[in-house]
């Protein structure tokens, strides 16, 4: 068992946490009891798919005792578009458009995962500049994605301002990404072999202008939400996913790192320009919503740091390798993954040597986080449900794919 874990994950994670499914959820400790002869009934509530704060179309069926959750079921699939099946009918350079629509808030990283998988089958040497541009695009997009998370997390607690402040920074980021790729959200920028276009003139200045104020604004936002005692009272100690549970559910990204597990694909299985960059992996300790908040805020600081390094050290050269117009990779089966804003986004690709993938599997981290919800929600209040969903930062486009 242990060596398989060593082999598949590289860091031997699963071997430590053997999750014990025997423990009943904490919420079941209180049965509906008759007080003074009054009997109470549990209420079953449909939370979603049309609910203001299930971040899209997640449907939760929750059983509540008053306001306390007794049991929760996550029902997914309301945003299913059949991305995996559609990919079987796209040429290799066009699958990126599908990946953009998977996790649509961090499309660059989805594209990158597919490009990395395809390149393993293609015998192609990706130029150094393409690696750097890919990392730059990924980090810019990670910031944009985390800002959406910050804003919606604020909305979940009932604070409106945070969302609009975050959108101001995100607007600047989307402008930069538009200058870089020609699109604001559905980029199709990273393709097998490199990126679609070199960096246009003026983008470096735009990024520098953005970075010059970003750190200041980020501190301000952190103070505005994280420094607020009401907010701390809302997130501290709720939705705890400890180390064992996080590993057992296969969580990745900030949700895993908040539990104190040092696992970041950018460090564990480096890709693009990450081996050359100097950055830290922020970790939490207890794995509650507050830790997840802090880890993500720290990640934004690290991303800003990386973007500064990336534009300072941007190498000269070609932005893409020579790739045939119609890509016909070698037959074979590969897996490639990247650290997206939400965790390990992986592409398992089977090619039969034709111009279309034979089978593509999209491993989205949100699905794993959503599974953990069922286990952690009982015992919390309805108000906590939205906070916990917000803190795990699930993305329904990627979850339902």
């Amino acid at each position: 068992m242990s060596d398989i874990c060593e082999e598949t994950l590289g860091v031997g994670l699963l071997c430590e946490g053997q999750h014990d499914p025997g423990t009943p959820p904490a919420g079941l400790r209180r049965a509906p009891s008759g007080v003074d002869g009054l009997t109470t009934e549990h209420l079953i509530i449909n939370m979603g798919p049309q609910h203001p704060s299930t971040h899209g179309v997640l449907r939760m069926i929750v059983e509540v005792d008053g306001e306390e959750i007794v049991a929760a079921e996550v029902s997914v699939g309301y945003l299913h578009r059949g991305i995996e099946k559609l990919a079987e009918h796209r040429r290799y350079d066009a699958v990126g458009t599908l990946m953009d629509r998977g996790d649509y808030v961090s499309g660059m990283m989805g594209e990158l995962a597919f490009a990395l998988a395809a390149e393993q089958l293609m015998d192609v040497e990706v130029p150094r500049k393409a690696h750097w541009l890919r990392s730059l695009a990924s980090e810019l997009n990670r910031l944009a994605s985390h800002l959406v998370w910050y804003g919606t997390f604020g909305l979940d607690t009932g604070a409106m301002g945070q969302f609009l402040y975050a959108m101001r920074e995100r607007e600047a980021l989307l402008d930069i990404l538009e200058a870089l790729s020609g699109q604001r959200m559905m980029f199709n920028y990273i393709r097998p072999g490199g990126v679609v276009a070199d960096m246009p003139l003026g983008v470096t200045e735009k990024i520098r202008a953005f970075l010059s104020t970003f750190d200041m604004y980020l501190d301000e936002y952190d103070q505005l939400l994280g420094g607020n005692e009401i907010f701390q009272g809302r997130v501290k100690g709720i939705g705890t996913i400890d180390r064992q549970m996080a590993l057992a559910f296969g969580l990745t990204g900030a949700n895993l790192r908040a539990a104190g597990v040092d696992f970041d694909i950018r460090k564990a299985r480096p890709y693009a320009a990450y081996p050359e960059l100097d950055f830290e992996v922020p970790l939490g300790s207890t794995g509650d919503a507050w830790d997840r908040y802090n880890v993500r805020m720290a990640e934004m600081r690290q991303s800003a740091r990386m973007i500064a390094q990336l534009i300072d050290g941007m190498p000269e050269g070609e932005h893409t390798a020579k790739v045939p117009r119609i890509i016909r990779p070698n037959a074979g089966e590969v897996y490639a993954s990247v650290e997206s804003s939400r965790g390990e986004t992986g592409i398992h690709l089977i090619s039969d040597g034709t111009e279309h993938p034979y089978r593509m599997h999209y491993r989205g981290p949100s699905l794993y986080a959503a599974q953990a919800l069922e286990e952690i929600l009982p015992g919390h209040l309805i108000a906590d449900v939205v906070m916990i969903i917000g803190s795990t930062d699930i993305m329904l486009g990627e979850l339902d794919r």
Binding site: L43, I45, H51, P52, S53, E67, G154, L155, D156, T157, G158, A159, M160, G161, L164, Y165, R168, L224, L225, N228, I230, F231, G233, R234, L381, I382, A383, D384, V385, V386
Partner: protein, 333 residues
């Protein structure tokens, strides 16, 4: 003019004030929140978007009034009225100036609180009749939190009543006229004895008027729209009008109790007497502005935290403070 006619005129005046206040406050809310959120708020309809609210009211009036099939029809229709009427009643005792008031009640303070405390009945009715689980949760929350906070709200202002010796809102304002140390107004907010009173009053009145960070009963991110989920058109409009009106009333109460009502000590008495209602309204809208500022900034508290704060902190503190300030007032005089 007959007494009945005068009464009818007064009721109409209160109604007009309430409606006008609703229109002004919705526009104000949008503009204040807009600028707090680095955006502009309404700008297109009328000068600087001033007619936007009028258009919205027209929209609410002409919208289809949907009554879902499963609702308890009588309660569903009655609830907006039960919410609306007490908030209209609460205007009766407010002293806009030494002459401008609808009635001069000796128990004005108690009367206003009583009117406000009738509102949760309507909210609970709305929540129950809607036959919607979110509405039910919202109605229950409204009832629970308003019951929990009426007690500290009333207890918190008792030291003022003890000092003034009257629960007449006009008398309370008159006790705050003039200055001491030549510049400081004699407002109760300047008196350190009433600082804890003021803090408890602010918290409890935010809860009573259902404002952020205590807007539990319609917490849109948690329970959709709470008691208002199934309401549409003008029934919804009435529910929200009453909420804006409650915000105005608690702000006006705060001005009356702590900020000297219509008085402004630095101006000559004749000017103050003439401009009384204006001064009162400006002060009240400043209070509302602060509430909107809080709304634009703060996250929401969780329902169990609200309950704990009310029962475990505010009620004991206000009881202790009544005893303490009672002793101080006795020794002083």
């Amino acid at each position: 003019m007959s007494a009945v006619g005068i009464s009818a005129l007064k009721v109409l005046a209160a109604l007009g004030l309430m409606l006008g206040n609703g229109v002004v406050m919705i526009y104000m809310l949008r503009k204040v929140l807009g600028h707090l959120h680095i955006r502009l708020g309404p700008i297109h309809v009328g000068w600087k978007g001033t007619l936007q609210t009028v258009m919205d009211v027209l929209k609410l009036l002409t919208k289809e009034d949907v009554t879902p099939r499963a609702v308890d029809r009588w309660l569903f229709r009655l609830a907006p009225a039960v919410v609306f009427v007490p908030s209209l009643m609460a205007y009766a005792a407010l002293p806009f100036s030494d002459t401008w008031r609808i009635t001069n009640l000796d128990s004005g303070l108690l009367y206003t609180f009583t009117a406000l405390s009738l509102i949760p009945i309507g909210l609970l009715m709305a929540g129950w009749a809607s036959a919607n689980k979110w509405s039910l949760l919202g109605g229950m929350r409204a009832a629970a939190q308003q019951i929990a906070y009426e007690v500290p709200l009333l207890l918190s202002v008792l030291p003022i009543v003890m000092l003034v010796g009257s629960a007449n809102l006009g008398t309370i304002v008159e006790a705050q006229q003039g200055t001491f140390l030549a510049v400081l107004p004699r407002w109760f907010i300047v008196n350190p004895l009433f600082w804890p009173t003021f803090l408890i009053f602010v918290v409890a009145s935010l809860v009573e008027s259902n404002q952020t960070p205590f807007d539990m009963s319609e917490a849109e991110s948690e329970i959709v729209a709470g008691f208002a989920t199934e309401y549409s058109a003008m029934k919804f409009g009435l529910l929200f009008l009453s909420e804006f009106s409650n915000q105005f009333i608690v702000s006006a109460l705060g001005v009356t109790l702590f900020f000297g009502g219509w008085t402004l000590p630095w101006l000559p008495a004749s000017v103050v007497s003439a401009l009384g209602p204006l001064i009162f309204l400006i002060k009240t809208y400043l209070g509302i502005f602060v509430m909107m500022w809080i709304r634009g900034t703060f996250p929401r508290v969780r329902i169990d935290q609200v309950m704990q704060l009310g029962w475990q902190r505010l009620i004991p503190i206000s009881l202790v403070w009544i005893v303490f300030s009672g002793i101080v007032i006795k020794v002083w005089s």
